[in-house]
């Protein structure tokens, strides 16, 4: 789930070693809701620059079926 806290700092700005890539689909799951939607940056604390890259990576992963487009929480 999301990194919800009062002190919001972009995870990717803090740690430069984290690469945003569609092949790292297991890490991208952290930024999705339980129904498979992308969590907005103001909730997770991710800055605008990295949120753009994150959404692109998630959409690529969805295209090649690494991530689902939608998850039914009743079946999950």
């Amino acid at each position: 789930m999301a990194f919800i806290s009062n002190h919001k700092v972009c995870v990717f700005c803090e740690n430069n070693e984290i690469i945003i890539d569609y092949k790292e689909y297991k890490y991208l799951r952290k930024f999705l809701t339980e129904t498979g939607k992308i969590i907005p940056g103001h909730v997770t604390g991710v800055c605008a620059k990295h949120q753009r890259r994150l959404t692109n990576a998630v959409k690529r992963a969805r295209n090649i079926a690494l991530l689902p487009y939608a998850i039914d929480p009743r079946n999950a």
Binding site: Y22, K23, R60, R62, I64, A65, L66, L67, P68, Y69
Partner: protein
Amino acid sequence: MNYYETLYIVHSALEAGRLKDIVLTVEKSLKENGGEIVATEIWGKKKLGYYIDKQKYGTYILIQFKSDGTKNNNFNIHMEQNPSILAYMTVKIENDGIREQTEDLDTQIAGKEAKTSRTPRVEEKSTEEVVVEETPVKESKDEMGAEGVPAEAEVTADEKVEK
């Protein structure tokens, strides 16, 4: 010249021999279309995010290549026409995203096969454990010592395996 990578999903029911054939045909068509292969990586059988052609599982294969990009469209048409490829995606990558190929195709396929063949072995072990659990119940009727019984039962199980 730019670097590209194609991630494609092969039907999971294909055997190791057929899988290698498909990988080789893809590489051949890539070379015909002016691509220079940098690395091929077999990820193995994975659960798909959603059903594709009524399939729940697929074998993921990543191929990275160097090309000027003019004939990538022809390569994509070849991938589209191959019936055993469920889905594919070609993406442009930067120089730092290039992976080094450490293992050959045969060793990669053999490694993935070994991982998948582990599951029946676990089932066999679980059946042995069931036998071990059954034996103390029979002996516990005669004797009240619960601690010594499983050790004897393990010995009997080992003897059975040796026989």
